[in-house]
Amino acid sequence: MSITTTARALDLLQRAVNSDIYHSFRSSKMVMVAAVVSAVMIIGATFSPILAPHNTLDLASISLIDSLTPPVWMEDGDSRFLLGTDDQGRDMLSAIMHGARVSLFVGFASVLFAMVLGVSLGLISGYAGGFLDSFIMRAAEIQLSFPAILIALLIDGIFRGALDAKTHDELAVYVMILAIGLSFWVQYARTVRSSTLVEKGKEYVEAARVTGLPPFLIVFRHILPNVTGPLLVIATINLALAIITEATLSFLGVGVPPTEPSLGTLIRIGNDFLFSGEWWITIFPGVALAVLVLAVNLLGDWLRDALNPKLR
């Protein structure tokens, strides 16, 4: 590494430390806790195949003798299973880490899908105008008047009817991403459309048009970089919503199959044991879900305020 690149890196770091965002981050303890909690959970979930104490997806490694062991601090607890085991003898902590991985994957993927779809439609709508614009916006308006969970349920139901049960189970994670993504695109489309309408009239777009650039390139290469500002905030808040929606659908039994359990599936499985006294099978995945969503929500709220110059 040459001296100039080191200097440049230091300069960037200096600028990051001096920025308003960093300052507002440091000034709120709650946000810092939320960031740490999110980071720990995301890392723990992403690397769960390495970090988890047991591999719950490998049937050979679990034993029915260990089933329904309570958490370690209770009587009959076993030091191998920090948070106890479920009815199959699976370690709850590992199951939660694996489950959080599925939940987070579905959450991130569906937010990304919704963002790509919504931003594209918003750009097209704003730039093209006319019939296409009113068609897309009317569709968005209609969809907005129904709750997202209902739309996701419906899309999942349609796939369930169109595919046979085995194929559906294999594709369940992707069906889920599609269903949740399709129910969240509207907000991106509306935001991007309104900023596109503003950008459309500016000189640089005019100039690009005069040089004879095709509309596709104008929209995606010139307008797109200028309308992405608010997207990060919407995406963060949507991530929390997407995780909740996935968990809810899985809890209702129309989400990911038990062979690849997400947090919602774990809560659904554990719910049957709530009455027989094995509360830890439900409550721990539930707490993990709640903490994850709360942390992401707090980060989203903070990001919205920190990036909004009006509130400073």
Binding site: L150, I244, V254, N297
Partner: protein
């Protein structure tokens, strides 16, 4: 005014038409209704005869017209799973869902509005801070998790409230109600709270921000200068003016309550429409899915329409705009 109403009616009509088309497409392309109705040993000729009798060999537009005609008469065919008319099934389940939604809406307003007023008036009091924290948790916790936690605390640990069902139900002929028996009331407490908690936090935050805004306005300062007691100012002047948006949101949220009842009904095994819809999705019982879809869409469209009109009645500025 008439133009506005006509336009809104037309829009609602289009939405219903689209939803009907979706429901009809589901009917036609997801699974073969004949296969669902006959046994394995039915001959091909008998199947063909049944297809003819059901009109499945007619052109699509004729089938669609008949579907719409039937839907207008609240007729959605036979459920594959229950072997009964879907309309009858829905009418059986409707009271449970509507009662739950209504009680939940009352809870939402009765608790959410006072909490919002308090946090608006005393921004920095300890109680307000507790309320705001609770509301953040209420937004973050998924509905089904709240339900499970309530069951865990009040049914498993304390054993105060039943964890499933409606309790004893009184049949009034056209309506079966759980609100006339003690067990019915006990059974509705947890589902109603679970269903309403998210909406309650929404109402609370809305009332709070509206109150903060109104309290800054000139006529409130003037009322204070006139020496009116603060109770009269807070409730007679400020709260009254915050209620317009609150009523709108509450109206719109009523639709969400009916839709979110799917989750609550599953957690508490509440015998309503939502639970039936969810069971129908799992076994791909298309007639029930189609009927529920149409019914929910109808509720939503009607609620939106009424709220829009209420806006028009309540806010005189809209009337001025449309005449210019």
């Amino acid at each position: 005014m008439i133009g506005f109403i006509l336009k809104r009616f037309f829009q609602s009509f289009i939405v219903m038409f689209l939803v009907a088309m979706l429901a009809f497409t589901m009917f036609n392309f997801l699974g073969d209704p004949v296969n669902q109705m006959v046994g394995i040993d039915t001959s091909a000729a008998d199947r063909e005869a049944l297809r003819d009798r059901l009109g499945l060999n007619d052109p699509l537009y004729a089938q669609f017209a008949r579907f719409i005609g039937n839907a207008l008469q609240f007729e959605f065919g036979q459920s594959y799973q229950h072997k009964r008319a879907v309309s009858g099934l829905i009418l059986d389940r409707l009271p449970a869902t509507l009662e739950l939604s209504l009680i939940s809406a009352i809870f939402t307003l009765a608790v959410g509005v006072p909490m919002g007023v308090h946090t608006g008036l005393h921004r920095n009091s300890l109680v307000s801070k507790i309320f705001m924290t609770v509301s953040l948790v209420g937004v973050s916790l998924p509905t089904f998790l709240i339900g499970i936690l309530l069951i865990f605390i009040f049914s498993v640990q304390l054993q105060w409230l039943p964890s499933f069902g409606r309790g004893e139900v009184v049949d009034l002929g056209f309506w079966s109600t759980g609100l006339l028996t003690a067990t019915g009331w006990k059974a509705i407490i947890m589902p109603a709270v679970t269903l309403g908690l998210f909406q309650m936090t929404l109402i609370m935050r809305l009332v709070r921000s509206e109150m903060l805004e109104v309290l800054r306005s000139d006529y409130i300062k003037f009322a204070r200068a006139r020496g009116l007691p603060s109770r009269a100012i807070n409730f007679g002047h400020a709260l009254k003016n915050t209620l317009v948006p609150v009523i709108t949101i509450a109206g719109l949220q009523l639709g969400s309550l009916i839709a979110f009842a799917i989750i609550t009904e599953t957690v508490f095994q509440w015998p309503g429409m939502g639970l039936m819809f969810l069971q129908a999705i799992q076994v791909v019982d298309i007639p029930i899915m189609a009927a529920y879809l149409m019914l929910i869409a109808f509720f939503f469209v009607m609620i939106n329409l009424i709220v829009d009109m209420l806006y028009y009645v309540v806010d005189p500025r809209l009337r001025v705009d449309s005449t210019n």
